[in-house]
């Protein structure tokens, strides 16, 4: 009972707070529009064709096939793709992951196996599309893999498994996000992470207004207060995220793929992650200014390196580490793979990760609350 009262009170004051709407609704909706329009060139497929390089190994039993391959490589060569056979002693993994080659493919009578770079996703997507078209025409099976160490996704697995030697592939598998599609995702995940701000201030606000005194004096447990406040905060933030998603979907016509409910579930777990993170930081750093600074710096870095403002690719060294530390990076990558490649497994992994980290910070919060006399 007290839990619901506290949750309702939390929702009521959030609704009355203009900052909620400015930050959580107006900002992402406006940024989507500005960034989506301003950076649309970055998303046209033209930009990268000149830089595409394919490394391959071909073994043909029939001469026919070899002739087809030669005509294919000539054709794509005209499109600006450089096609290079692998030389003995070359390590294709190294070549692809260092970015010297966009992708590596093996062609034999079994079909085509394709290993694309996870760094140059646009370029490797284009190459993959070309190879799929080639395979289609010449009745070869294809399989595609992301070549980044550790991450291997079998994009066209069903094609390779097909009993029928002639497999069906659709070019939809390499559908690319337009700029508004990209920013619909990246801005939504960004403001979901912004939930940290309000969560961080959940108890700070009670301390500042001294109302923490009344909550502590009331015949309710600290646990009830925590849960009530969390429910209210998660609810209001999720509502904001939902409004932004629906706005982008129906007003901007952004593409959210075929697994809409799963997208929403992933976003909900991201809000949970953000809220527990905010609460945790709020209790570890009880000085409100310090807490706020840490949160804002974290958010700016996470947004930047997570690709909120523009997609980050081709990173090296420390930059790779930083991008990988941003929750937005995992979430954006997983959501884009879900939306454009129907990669459901990647999203479940991120959902698990979100919930796991949320649990850790919640436990820290609970320990800290139990230790202190007041909030």
């Amino acid at each position: 009972m007290a839990i619901w009262r506290i949750a309702l009170k939390e929702i009521l004051s959030s609704v009355r707070n203009r900052q909620t709407f400015l930050f959580m609704l107006a900002l992402p909706i406006i940024l989507m529009l500005i960034l989506g329009a301003g950076l649309s060139n970055a998303f046209s497929s033209k930009h990268s064709v000149g830089e595409v390089r394919l490394l391959y190994q071909a073994t043909f039993s029939e001469n026919d096939m070899s002739a087809y391959w030669d005509s294919f490589t000539k054709a794509i060569g005209k499109e600006g793709v450089e096609v290079v056979p692998i030389r003995p002693g070359m390590d294709w993994r190294q070549e692809v992951s260092s970015g010297r080659y966009t992708a590596y493919a093996t062609i034999d009578k079994e079909g085509i196996a394709f290993f694309g770079s996870s760094k140059n996703t646009v370029e490797s997507g284009i190459l993959q599309g070309m190879l799929v078209a080639f395979a289609d025409r010449y009745a070869l099976g294809t399989a595609a893999f992301q070549a980044s160490p550790g991450v291997g996704t079998n994009i066209l697995k069903h094609a390779a498994e097909s009993k029928d030697f002639i497999q069906e592939t659709t070019l939809a598998a390499v559908r690319k996000p337009g700029s508004i599609d990209y920013y619909a995702v990246s801005m939504t995940t960004m403001i979901a992470l912004f939930s940290i701000i309000s969560a961080n201030y959940l108890f700070g606000a009670e301390r500042a207004r001294k109302t923490a005194i009344r909550l502590m004096a009331a015949p309710i447990s600290k646990g009830e207060i925590l849960v009530g406040k969390m429910i209210g905060n998660v609810f209001i933030n999720t509502l904001c995220v939902l409004v932004v998603v629906l706005f982008s979907k129906f007003v901007y016509h952004a593409y959210w793929g075929n697994h809409f409910w799963l997208v929403l579930l992933a976003l909900l777990t991201e809000v949970l992650l953000a809220v527990s993170l905010g609460l945790g930081i709020g209790f570890l750093l009880t000085k409100q200014e310090g807490s706020y600074m840490v949160v804002m710096i974290f958010l700016q870095c996470a947004s930047f390196f997570g690709g909120a403002y523009f997609p980050i690719e081709n990173t090296e060294g420390i930059l790779t580490l930083l991008t990988n530390l941003s929750p937005l990076r995992w979430i954006n990558t997983a959501l884009l793979e879900l939306i454009y490649m129907d990669n459901i497994a990647a999203v479940w992994k991120v959902i698990g990760l979100n919930l796991g980290i949320a649990a850790v910070f919640l436990v820290l919060t609970v320990i800290s609350i139990r230790r202190r006399e007041a909030f």
């Binding site: 007290a2 009262r5 009170k9 009521l12 004051s13 207004r209 001294k210 004096a217 015949p219 309710i220």
Partner: protein
């Protein structure tokens, strides 16, 4: 008289600092019990322990026969606290504030509405249900602060300086409400920096200094402690500063304070030093308007016992 509250050997340390020092005290049903003490004496710390906001380092507190740590829920249900600082939500209406806090005490539905309305009417905010505290005067905020503590009809109401920084009208209103609550059967603990308030409404008073109760009793009992003291009030024309030091040097004088156009001099009653005092003032070229000798009052008791002024 049965005891509503029993405090036994209560101690609170913050690190090495002892804020409340082995305090023992009983408060009976229907009392308005006053805590008098200078800044930092330990009033709020004591009160916060009674309201379960701080854990005692040592000792125990028994409310209505039950230990407040062991029966925490019971103690909290029967206590209402008016914190020293305003503790209200600025973004919620007066009604929502009272209703929210009362709701935490298990009130709901028609009962909750009724009690909320009663509490607001009680503090004279009956016509301000839908107003936001940010538009309230200081006095109105203080009254709302009280309403939030009484809607659940606690047996014990603790008021920590409820009249700080407000206009005389609001103050009278609050003092009246305290009396009314008391008549309705509430036991009240009241702290204040204002001697007159405590003298006016409290049935019993404890003088707190350095975490200890140094005197306790009714106003009459307390003033009888210092029968050997008198207080001399001297009215004068206010121009220029008065040298208090020179007066303090006079034999028998224990304390001197200036309040606007009046000098209040506490002195041993057996020493006849009025002539010396007046001579000194004339020497300092002070224009004397009036001289009167007061019977000892709480203020002189406080001054004598603690050597400190109640207010800084």
């Amino acid at each position: 008289m049965s005891h509503v509250l029993e405090i036994r050997n209560l101690t609170k340390k913050f690190g090495d600092f002892i804020a409340v020092d082995n305090m023992t005290l009983n408060i009976g049903e229907g009392e308005i019990f006053g805590f008098l003490g200078a800044n930092g004496a330990g009033k709020s710390t004591t009160i916060n322990m009674i309201a379960s906001l701080l854990r005692p380092t040592k000792g125990e507190i028994v409310l209505l026969g039950k230990n407040i740590v062991k029966d925490s829920k019971f103690a909290k249900m029967n206590t209402g606290i008016v914190p020293q600082e305003l503790a209200i939500y600025e973004d919620m209406t007066a009604y929502e504030n009272v209703s929210f806090f009362a709701g935490l005490y298990g009130l709901r539905g028609a009962m909750l509405r009724e009690r909320t309305e009663e509490a607001l009417a009680f503090v004279g905010l009956g016509d301000k249900h839908q107003s936001f505290p940010k538009n309230f005067s200081g006095g109105m905020k203080r009254r709302l602060n009280i309403a939030c503590a009484i809607a659940h009809l606690p047996k014990l109401i603790i008021m920590d300086e409820p009249t700080v920084g407000i206009d005389p009208q609001s103050r009278n209103y609050i003092l009246q409400s305290v009396r009314k609550l008391n008549e309705m059967g509430c036991t009240i603990i009241y702290t204040s920096h204002y001697m007159e308030e405590v003298e006016e409404i409290c049935t019993r008073i404890a003088i707190v200094d350095h975490g200890k109760i140094i005197a306790e009793g009714t106003k009459e009992q307390l003033t009888s402690i210092i029968t050997d003291t008198k207080e001399i009030w001297i009215g004068f024309r206010a121009d220029g500063a008065i040298s208090i030091e020179s007066l303090q040097g006079i034999a028998g004088v224990t304390a001197v304070r200036q309040e606007e156009n009046t000098l209040k001099i506490v002195s041993k009653s057996e020493v006849n030093n009025l002539n010396r005092i007046i001579q000194q003032l004339i020497k300092d070229q002070v224009e004397i308007r009036s001289v009167e000798e007061q019977a000892p009052n709480l203020e002189s008791v406080f001054l004598t016992l603690t050597g400190r002024n109640l207010r800084d």
